[in-house]
Amino acid sequence: MALRSLFRRIPAVGQLEPSTYVVYVGFLLIFAAFAILLRDEGFLSASNLLNIVQETTPVTIMAIGMVFVLSAGEIDLSIGSVVAIAALVAALVMRAHSWALGVAAGLGAGVMAGLINGALVAYARLPSFLVTLATMGLLAGVARWMTNLQSVPVTDATFTALFGSGSLFGIPSLVIWTALAIFLGHYVYRETPFGARVLATGDSPHAARAAGIEVDRLRLTVLILGSTCAAVAGLLYLGRIQGARYTLGETDLLTVIAAAVVGGTRLDGGTGTVLGALVGSLLMGMLNNGLILMGLAVSEQMIVRGFIILVAIVLTLREPRRSS
């Protein structure tokens, strides 16, 4: 591949596996392309760029959770449904009680969903793909049933400021959420024993178990983590849209997986990066934004987006097959 051989010649970069930098190169290339093509449509304006970050915050946070889940060798397909459930639960509790209790209830719903997924995967020894495929549908049904397809408005000013439209020292709260989540996620993933064990478990569950790691508990933990990230995303949607509806998060699953994988996280575990997931998520958001500014029809947007994701995945994953 021309791109790869080009980068091999740069000494420091040549040492890296393409999957670790493709997302950054791709991001810059697409950014440059949009900056030139859309210079008259205001793509480069501060407000538009900030808008991209804010739009992608929920996906970014779910992608961080997904990095942990995928790295451990599992997958969580139910996150989209958890988004809706967490938002609805939070909105319903908020209507009757305080916003803080609503937030706690929303997060609690996420933890519960993760607990159910995790227990079935870790202790009933079922594959996470099938378990979460089932709970995805199940929870989506619960979300529809809860309010009989009705949406639940949220008017609490403190909540919508914290989780949506507010700002601190001029920085929008959603940008702060993104920064906080990336910092925490990156630290836990890269700098703590937990992160190292997640990677080792995804790499070789047998090796992890032989090293004395409680693999089952770890699987439970990452699935709860992934689900809780989805609940946080649900709260952020709720704050931004000022209302909960069963459709929230419905289309996010594939975007989240694409963001994590394009960012350099392997679908089969053992390798990943949180920063890559952020760039992957921003890349997805930027594509949405740029293609809309270009005035493409929804159908055209879908085709172009699918094509670009495909190219990114080919570049990322066409790397040494795992020797086993």
């Binding site: 190292a196 090796a207 992890a208 090293a211 004395g212 790691i213 795992r322």
Partner: protein, 248 residues
Amino acid sequence: MNTTPALSLRNIHKSFGGIVAVEDLSLEVNRGEIVALVGDNGAGKSTIVKIIAGMHQPNSGEIRLAGELVHFIDPSQSQAKGVQVVYQDLALAESQPVYMNLFLGREKTKGWFGKLDRAGMIAETEVLMRELEVRVPSAKSTVRKLSGGQRQAIAIARATHWATNLVLMDEPTAALGITETSKVEDVITGLKARNLAILIVSHSLDQVFRLSDHICVLRRGKQIGVRQTNQTDKNEIVSMITGLKETA
């Protein structure tokens, strides 16, 4: 001198469903001693290693470590008692660096937030590699990029680093060439000097005679007999393995 064996197995029995894997096995391994477990494919050697390590639980029989009766239901429990295993497949996390494999499950951390002490782990790994004369490009190398002999040496280095009582080795040189095998054998002999008890499973009788003090022969899960290595010969062991001569 302490004469309690580091490992003592009494009447161990293990079956998987209707298939008997190990039948009435009794064996002792002392500190500073290498005991070899030999037998044909399916004789139950690897099962015994996994039982001692806590990966499998025996249906009956008792396991004592330095005289203490133990019931492991998880490998982490045997590790806590100073038992380390070098598995046939090495049990290395291939995408991770050498030092992370050595410290997996017992990572060094520093500071209040449990930050991984990578520099400390790398330094300790380098010292260990020098001591055991293991040559890897760097403690930071990814395991996948290393040769079979280097991986084997890392698995053994990890076991010796953490073992305080007993090292179990399942076919430690099965995948290696001649030079690499002899290097690994040197490392194993070196472990005796550390006063560890070593139980080794091997298909190579030459190797068994080079390394071991005692040889325990299994056939289809049954213990055929235990011999002192310097008082037996290959013919006797072969006939015990194949069943040409029944001895008890």
